[in-house]
């Protein structure tokens, strides 16, 4: 291997990434808000790594959390891998069209995806959970805590880099001959393994008996932290380099699924029966013919349900799942919902139809997608959850409807208030800049989780009446906020601003 050339390429890639990040930073709209958000994220990370060590801890609680450490470590790997595979190789620093005119190498692209990976609510929450759990287990011993958190952070970095390697390899396979079939078969096989692991305790133990269990022992203070650092640091370097080579492999192949979809034909259907039906049909096409949106929705609808099949959940825990799924789905495109039309929005705005009907159609297709994905998850989760109590069944149904309303309201409000011109063709594109997405996902997670916990608490108390009252109040609040969006959408000046931004 020509090492000198490789070294030069990596050095250039790092330099180019710096240029791209500075370019992105220069285009940030609200600098002060962004700086505050960044500071808050850093403070939360530092807080989660330190504060739990100094809180009062019951020994049994420490033992319980210590026992969960291997699972936390594995969850980070699973999250990084699934995110990278689902997003076709991770996030892009510069949108594909904008990057096309610049000599951005696959190595730069790979490093950019690694740098942007932490800008995801799921990644941040999992990392904060891990750091918090380590701090809780280690306790108020600054030296040991610093060593353990160093190991934990190295594990997080390795998990992220590992996700990128798998993500790029998945993309390489997907772009190859019969790529979609190959990748789907592999995902099916992985799901079967996950299912088998859930059903067979021996396999479950075996899965966590590898590096995760050993690293967890180090984090608990039962192993040498220095040795872990010595092993994990080179592993990180190897994974980053391997990801670079995998990115190169993927870049040599054309993104088949996108090009195939962009040349696909659809037979003519009879004309729609009403204006609303015609617009709903067009919007549905925009959603379900989009590779990233379809892939993301199917993944989000099925993945938690499959895990629930493998590791049965109680009905009271099932109440939480719709919030997770619906929040994830609305983040695929729903927070910038007018960008679905791309520059076609300009033409659509010249069609003689009331803005109310346009908004209703867009809201309808978004709501049915969110509700459908949440329903699939609940049905899969219910298979092994046993027979529910009446209050539990009501709580799960209410949670599904209420979080759909909350996600719909949030998505429509953000789409109206902060539209962005984005090309949603690529699985790697996000409907808003990464840091904005972190803000959206955090707000959604807080709202839907708080709602779900409230409904679950009423269900546990055996009070379906309170579940229904709470659901009605929360739904009414979402309706009020959607009515606000309607008022703003009716204003031609505000609508023109959205159209001008999205079609820019």
């Amino acid at each position: 291997m020509p090492t000198a050339r490789s070294w030069t390429e990596w050095r250039d890639a790092v330099a180019d990434l710096g240029h791209l990040l500075r370019f992105r930073a220069a285009t940030v709209r609200r600098r002060r808000t962004t700086a505050v958000a960044g500071a808050v994220l850093l403070a939360l990370t530092a807080g989660s790594a330190v504060v739990p060590a100094w809180v009062d801890r019951a020994p049994e609680e420490v033992d319980r959390v210590a026992g969960l450490l291997p699972a936390y470590l594995l969850a980070l790997v699973a999250l990084s891998v699934t995110t990278a595979v689902a997003s076709g190789g991770g996030r892009e620093v510069l949108a594909r069209d904008a990057a096309a005119v610049h000599p951005v190498s696959p190595l730069t692209d790979h490093l950019g995806a690694l740098v942007l990976a932490p800008l995801s609510a799921a990644w941040l929450l999992q990392t904060w959970f891990l750091l918090g759990a380590v701090a809780l287990v280690v306790g108020p011993h600054p030296g040991r805590l610093a060593a353990a958190q160093s190991v934990a952070l190295l594990w997080v970095a390795c998990a992220t880099a590992c996700g990128q390697v798998v993500g790029w390899l998945g993309e390489w396979l997907r772009r190859g001959p019969r790529g979609v079939l190959v990748v789907r078969s592999l995902i099916g096989a992985v799901l079967l393994v996950v299912g088998a692991v859930g059903l067979l305790p021996d396999l479950r133990t075996g899965l966590v008996a590898g590096p995760a269990r050993w690293t967890a022992e180090v984090l608990r203070g039962d192993g040498p932290a220095a040795l872990a650092v010595v092993l994990l640091a080179p592993a990180l370097a190897v994974l980053v380099v391997a990801g670079g080579y995998a990115a190169r492999l993927a870049a040599r192949r054309v993104p088949r699924d996108e090009s195939r979809l962009e040349s696909r034909s659809y037979p003519a259907r009879p004309s729609a029966a009403s204006d609303l039906a015609a617009l709903v049909r067009t919007d549905r096409g925009s959603i379900w013919r989009s590779v990233p949106v379809r892939r993301g929705t199917v993944f989000l609808a099925l993945a938690p349900g499959v895990v629930a099949l493998a590791y049965p959940l109680t009905w009271n825990t099932l109440v939480i799942l719709p919030g997770l799924v619906v929040s994830g789905c609305v983040l695929l495109f729903g927070v910038n919902v007018w960008a679905l039309d791309g520059r076609g929005l300009l033409w659509r705005e010249t069609l003689p139809v009331s803005p109310d009907v346009t908004l209703l159609a867009r809201g309808w297709v978004l709501a049915e997608l969110l509700l459908g994905a949440g329903l699939v998850t609940v049905v899969l989760g219910a298979v092994r959850a046993g027979l529910p109590a009446g209050a539990e069944l009501v709580a799960v149904g209410a949670a599904l409807v209420v979080v759909t309303g909350q996600a719909l309201s949030g998505g429509l409000r953000w789409s109206m208030g902060s539209p962005y011109a984005v090309d949603l063709r690529s699985a790697r594109a996000t409907p808003a800049p990464p840091l904005v997405m972190v803000g959206y996902s955090t707000r959604l997670a807080l709202a839907t989780t708080a709602t779900s916990l409230l409904l679950a608490a009423f269900a546990e108390a055996g009070r379906p009446d309170r579940v229904l009252v709470a659901a009605a109040v929360l739904l009414a609040w979402s309706a009020v906020r959607i009515a606000g969006v309607r008022r703003r959408w009716r204003d031609p000046v505000q609508r023109a601003r959205v159209v001008a931004t999205v079609t820019a």
Partner: protein, 238 residues
């Protein structure tokens, strides 16, 4: 047509601001039924913004803009029924097919028996082979041709074509010229914005030159033809 008296397009003292930027600063424009007017001018002269106001997409900050007697601010839906608009950028829903675009436009405009005309237009613009293919994979020229076709489907009283010749092959240019001629022949008003002076002169009977968001001249198209026309045009731009 609506049967309204007066010009098909009437713009008086039109002003459009985007924040601190004044995109249109007092444009006056008048297009009679059965006439075609070309809008010429440098980038940022206000041509596309004026078109968007007339299409009902951008509300004006001041002045008057009427289409067949309908105020674009007060009666935007009526204006949209009367106008056929080919936007300067994109203008197509990426994951819908040309036929689905036509179907949606026909449905919302209450067109009956529109299919034969749609098929004829697709043939004329050589898009019949891709009528059921999603537009995301279309070339720039194909997208332009489809945008012109969509603007013409409902035989609008006012045809607004913004950069209809941009990146279009000779077949598409001829088909667009036919659309303009047909529209004029049936009494529609046509407004064409373009940077291609020769094609503007061919397509239209009159040329209006915009500069810095305002009209600087309206002259017969023949005055902008050939070398002499090029010199005259350049003089108006400086």
């Amino acid at each position: 047509m609506t049967g309204e008296e007066g010009p098909a397009v009437e713009v008086v003292g039109l002003r459009v601001e985007f924040g601190a930027v004044e995109a249109v600063a007092g444009v006056d424009l008048r297009v009679e039924a059965g006439h075609a007017v070309a809008l010429l001018g440098r980038n940022g002269a206000g041509k596309s913004t004026t078109m968007r106001v007339l299409a009902g997409v951008v509300p004006p900050n001041g002045g008057l803009a009427r289409v067949c007697g309908h105020d674009v601010l007060r009666d935007p839906i009526a204006v949209r029924r009367l106008v056929g608009y080919c936007p300067d950028v994109g203008g197509l829903v990426p994951r819908a097919t040309p036929w689905e675009h036509l179907q949606l436009s026909a449905r919302l405009r209450r067109l009956d028996h529109w299919e034969p005309r749609a098929r004829d237009l697709l043939e004329r613009f050589e898009l019949a082979d891709v009528a059921h293919r999603v537009t995301a994979g279309f070339s720039h020229g194909m997208s332009r041709r489809l945008s012109v076709l969509l603007a013409a489907l409902h035989e609008p009283a006012v045809l607004l074509l913004d950069e209809p010749f941009d990146g279009v092959d000779p077949v598409g240019v001829e088909a667009t010229m036919e659309i303009v001629d047909d529209a004029r022949a049936r009494g529609a008003a046509v407004l064409v914005s373009t940077h291609l002076r020769d094609l503007a002169v061919r397509a239209c009977g009159e040329v209006t030159v915009l500069r810095g968001g305002a009209r600087v001249a309206t002259v017969p198209a023949a005055a902008m033809a050939g070398e002499e026309g090029a010199r005259a045009y350049r003089a108006l731009l400086d």
